[in-house]
Amino acid sequence: MTKETVVFTVNDRVEQTVVSPEKPLLWVLRDELDLTGSKYGCGRALCGACTVHVDGQPTRACVTPVKAVEGKRVTTIEALSETELGARVQRAWKSLNVPQCGYCQSGQIMAVVALLRAIPKPTDQNIDEALSGNICRCGMYPRIRKAVHELAAGGFA
């Protein structure tokens, strides 16, 4: 397929990449831009391991053609600690030992940050609705829920 120049912002830095416009954003991030924090899980938007933010919205990078983010702002797990909320979430994850194997956790964290931005004090139902598409084979859902509630209560500042 013909390559095209695609320009978008990744972690506040403008990136210009010459790729097939259909190439999934995940592989542009990982292979072209060396941002390997976003994980490949299923490649079909079924598991959420590849979750990034596109203009602030959680998005599955594995099925998002890179042309779809032309001119948009992409945020990955690598930049999350640069925000106050992102840093708090990461501290919560570490303090509460949320990850077990950890493979899904960059996606989980991206989803949680988006959740807390949209709903600062989420209910269990809000948490379920926001995170239902992020699968954890280790079953760390109770720890994730606990971390979200403690963050909502102002913890890990």
Binding site: G43, L46, V63, A118, N126, S132
Partner: protein
Amino acid sequence: MIRKTVFAGVALAVSMVQAQTPHPFDPIAEVLQHPRCLNCHTLTEYPTQSRKIVDPVSGAVSYERFRHAQRVIRGEDGFGAPTLKCGACHQDTNVADGKMPGAPHWHLAPLSMGWEGLNRRDLCLTLKDTSKNGGKSLEDLVTHVEKDALVLWGWEPGGDRDTPSPSHDSFMVDFIAWADAGGPCPEN
């Protein structure tokens, strides 16, 4: 007695003719009741997915519909939870070799346009009801089924998803004929 028998026979014959004559809405209902439409025209707070089942003996086709795998929800506007929009996964086109379906403005139809469980008559009445269908006239409905990206996706769903039996062109011929006839609804 003879007269009654004759009348009864005529009534039966008329009834049989009526039963055998397709109603103009029949081919439309066949499409609207296909899982490609129903999965997002739900009466629930979530979309569904479906699995095609072919009876190994008779070859009869049926569909098992079940809640969307990621347990996503409708949300206030049909576009998902504010923290997990349909667009988080569904792109403007089918991707991942067609396994991941997509079309522009992917979302659920409003609850007022939920079609699950409706018989042909109620489906027809619901479709035409401007208080439920977003204020669409019959002419607007023709335009909608002719051009809306999500409607058109139903015939290009990607992957191994099947499509409604009539082609979109055939569906349009039937739909326009039905609309031109004033949008008649069947008795049941």
